[in-house]
Amino acid sequence: MINEFERSPKSGHARYGAETARKQTRATRIKEGDTAMAAFTETHLQELRAIFGDKRVLYREHDLYSYAFDASFGTYRPDAVVQPLTTDEVRKLVLMANRERIPLTPRGHASSLSGGPLPVMGGIVVDLSKMNDKLIIDEEDLVAVVSPGVLTAQIHQAAERKGLMYPPDPSSSAVSTIGGNLAENSGGPRGLKYGVTRDYVLGLEVVTPTGEVIRTGGRTVKNVTGYDLTRLIVGSEGTLGIITEATLRLIPKPPASETMMAIFDDLVVCGKAISRILSSGILPAKIELMDQASILAVEHYEPCGLPRDAKAIILIELDGHPQAIKAEMETARDVCRTTGAREIRVAQSEAEKNDLWRARKLVSPAVARIKPTKISEDICVPKSKIPEAFARLERIRDKYGLHMVIFGHAGDGNLHPNIMADKRDAEEMKRVEQAVAEIFQTAVELGGTLSGEHGIGTMKAPFLPLELGDAGIAMMRRIKEAWDPKGIMNPGKIFPRPGQRLVLTDD
């Protein structure tokens, strides 16, 4: 293509030869743990082309920048991007990267909120979203066999067409790939009743960091043969290998559902109601929360008839046999009333159900109007500590004078305090950093965890010792080193580096 633009001195098509030659003379070597990463060269590019052909190897500047981010923070330009279609291509790639000590960062659709798909050490981004040809629903074995690039929503739809359900439902399921869900062990609203991704994985095909293709687990719910490598890989954030196929457990789709909204004048009382519902002998599929800041944001953005003076609203969904959930709905209603809900609305039709859920769905776009930068936290506390967690989050919000909205899957203790800020305001971002640190401290003090479903990635790595302790981290490091002696798989994730702290600003 003829360049019609005046070239600025620094511009250029990132012509590969020149750039890599410069880099080599600089002898770039990055220390990652005890391993040294090598610079990416023209020879490496040639080898990638031999494996993937010209079209599925990207190296031009704009392409590289397009794989430099996810839904968290930071821009890290890789040296190349490849788009594998088969396990064998992945195997060849990993063999080469391991031999040459080139970092590999696997990636689905990069909707991660914790930095999992960021190539923080450069190297090669492995875009697995094109490896999406297999989606088999086996009604007799109640399993789905899928390629990593299949969208989570496609699995939902395929299962439902056969009267089955794949329960994990991260909010991003319309865009997230199952490979990413597996690597991050994603959750979602239905986690309350049905558990999370790891509870539905029976077996995996994995290319290990040293280039072997292994199969873990199998096709049965019961399987105690050897160590449970499936559970080790799920949630390992791409640091122990690349998942190339998964066998997922399906369950019968519940025949009916009921939805109820309860409105409270006090956030902590609302937390108590959630705790009491959960100990009243019923298990809702979802309990979703909106605090007053979320309510006001929604009413300001698109009025839905929510009471602006309410301090909290919860939405409860029950699913199961129609008669069973009718009775359960009565229980939930009684508990809310006796705990101090000021108003309860039970949907009488599909349309009313949709109306009730509409407000919840509007929270994200509504809060985005407050300020442009959203820092979405993801702590999870034991169910009995939900009221206290609310109280402490409110104190943190006031102490640092931040726009914080709390919404999300309250029912399983997985709270999403979202701080709305502007990343161009350095002073505000400093306060955000301090508040986030205090939120994590709170979660661990209450016997909870740093991350319920988003993952550690780069964002939460500095806080890992808080929860795991030095010995705990050391044990994990030994597992990592046994699997990946050269440290090529998604380096820079999970494990904190000496002196690393949370940084949301430039300086």
Binding site: M1, E4, F5, E6, R7, K10, S11, H13, K23, R26, T28, I30, K31, M37, A39, F40, L58, E61, H62, D63, Y65, S66, A68, F69, D70, A71, F73, G74, T75, Y76, R77, P78, V81, P103, H109, A110, S111, V120, M121, G122, G123, K130, S172, A174, V175, S364, P365, A368, P372, K374, K423, A426, M429, T458, A461, R497, G499, V503, T505, D506
Partner: protein
């Protein structure tokens, strides 16, 4: 390792330079585009909605990727503008991503501001610039020129040249995009008939009346007690290429009890200009249309609606206020204008039309290719469905990914023919699966593209593409 090469310690790598102070921001990207890019949280919800992400398969050609490149160029980190241009040129501008976006990012504004900045930097050759200027400033806004071209087209079709060319495969010698469209072009009415259609049929009568009314504000047609008084915006390409559809549109409105007037002095809506980054031209055309409308209301009294039948033009008209962010007076005038603009389906859905059916017992299966700008910009979604459901003997069978762009996108199918055809072929696979006999459209670009799609899929013997207005007119016996 590219960015962190000189900073071997820490994960800091390259922090988001968005936090860097404003001086680094390229002046071309000041308000509003750069601020708008900051609203994107890069969640990726737009990816499944994007037709070019589907066919091209890289983030570079996704909304999230394009917004990221605009931001990086604005911040001076991506310095090669040709790379930004490459990514933005290949965007259809369908704006399906705006509907998918949970954060309300106005992608269209980013796209147009960035294209405008790119235009300002681009050194087009003198010939290319002259041709572009001729097309954008002389041909498209000028009805006389368009009508002449349209006449030439009729000669081409009727003289047998077209049949001969098709028979001899001469169209293969034309540049592929033009050859493709030569084959798909609508049947033209002869210039003579266009002049005297008053004597031929009701539709053509209305068309002729419309043509002669172009210089007066006299009602084209009126009912005794009009349900609404509407001004009909004929558009430029629509009027020249699909005059029959414009005529039928006015007939339908009249038939439903409206008084219909033309807007003397109206011109092209400017959508093609705005989408190509020709901001100045778009503003000029918008001013002329607003003035024409104001003159009409001054001389002939107020109207309830300004009705158009082209999804893309309608979207431009309702977005006129965005052209005047710096001029409060004009902005207010544009807002008044835009508030009255309606797609014809919105008005027709409020009328009682004598939909008697299409004269046969057999149910006809139709599918509906939405106009992107009607869906994602005007947000008109329900009314066309309501109208289709009201036609007796019609069964609507929706295609997979029913909201996706057909790849027409203004002049995209001419300038990026291969990419457009890749998108069209995906669409036609979805169409074929419905086994529909008719593809309903609501925009001239889509209509042409679907006609081409039918030919490419080899379905011309059992499928046709129509404008919704044509189907309604047929059912009303017009």
């Amino acid at each position: 390792m590219t960015e962190t090469g000189e900073k071997p310690s820490g994960v800091t790598g390259e922090r988001p330079s968005a936090t860097r102070p404003a001086p680094g921001v390229n002046p071309l990207f000041r308000e509003p585009a750069y601020d708008e890019t900051m609203k994107c949280v890069q969640c990726g919800y737009c990816l499944p909605a994007c037709p070019t992400y589907e066919t091209m398969g890289t983030e570079t050609h996704s909304p999230r990727g394009r917004i990221n490149l605009v931001r990086l160029t604005a911040e001076g980190r991506l310095t090669d503008w040709s790379l930004l241009a490459e990514a933005l040129d290949l965007c259809l501008g369908c704006r399906a991503c705006e509907t998918a976006c949970p954060s309300g990012v106005q992608y269209g504004r980013i796209l147009e501001a960035a294209r405008s900045a790119i235009r300002a930097r681009r050194r087009g050759g003198p010939l290319a610039e002259a041709a572009r200027s001729l097309l954008m400033r002389r041909v498209i806004p000028n009805k006389r020129v368009l009508n002449t071209l349209s006449g030439a087209l009729w000669v081409y079709q009727k003289s047998g040249l077209e049949a001969a060319a098709n028979r001899l495969k001469l169209t293969r010698l034309l540049p592929a995009p033009l050859a493709a469209f030569a084959a798909a072009l609508p049947r033209r009415t002869s210039p003579r008939n266009r002049a005297r259609r008053a004597r031929t049929g009701p539709a053509e009568r209305a068309e002729a009346a419309a043509a002669s009314a172009a210089s007066t504000a006299k009602p084209v047609a009126s009912a005794a007690r009009p349900r609404f008084r509407v001004a009909f915006f004929t558009g430029c390409v629509m009027d020249a290429m699909f005059g029959r559809i414009n005529a039928l549109s006015m007939e339908l409105l009249t038939c439903g009890g409206c008084e219909v007037v033309r807007i003397p002095g109206e011109t092209c809506c400017g959508a093609l200009h705005a989408h190509a980054g020709e901001h100045g031209d778009a503003v000029r055309l918008a001013r002329r249309n607003i003035e024409a409308f104001e003159r009409l209301e001054e001389s002939a009294g107020p109207v309830d609606f300004i009705v158009n039948n082209a999804g893309g033009c309608g979207a431009m008209l309702v977005e006129y206020p965005l052209l005047f962010t710096e001029e409060p007076d004009w902005r207010a005038r544009a807002e008044r204008f835009a508030a009255k603009c309606r797609d014809i389906s919105v008005v027709l859905a409020q009328l009682e039309l004598p939909l008697a059916g299409r004269g046969n017992e057999r149910t006809t299966v139709v599918t509906y290719q939405r106009s992107c700008h009607m869906t994602h910009v005007q947000r008109v979604k329900d009314e066309p469905l309501k109208l289709l459901a009201a036609i007796p003997g019609i069964e609507l069978r929706e295609m997979a990914d029913k909201d996706k762009c057909c790849g027409s996108a203004g002049i995209y199918n001419l300038v990026h023919h291969a990419e457009s055809m890749a998108i069209l072929d995906v669409r036609m696979r979805a169409v074929r699966a419905t086994e529909a006999e008719i593809i309903v459209t609501t925009n001239p670009g889509c209509l042409l593209q679907m006609q081409l799609g039918i030919r490419r899929a080899g379905l011309e013997h059992r499928m046709r593409a129509v404008h919704l207005v044509e189907l309604l007119a047929e059912a009303c016996g017009l």
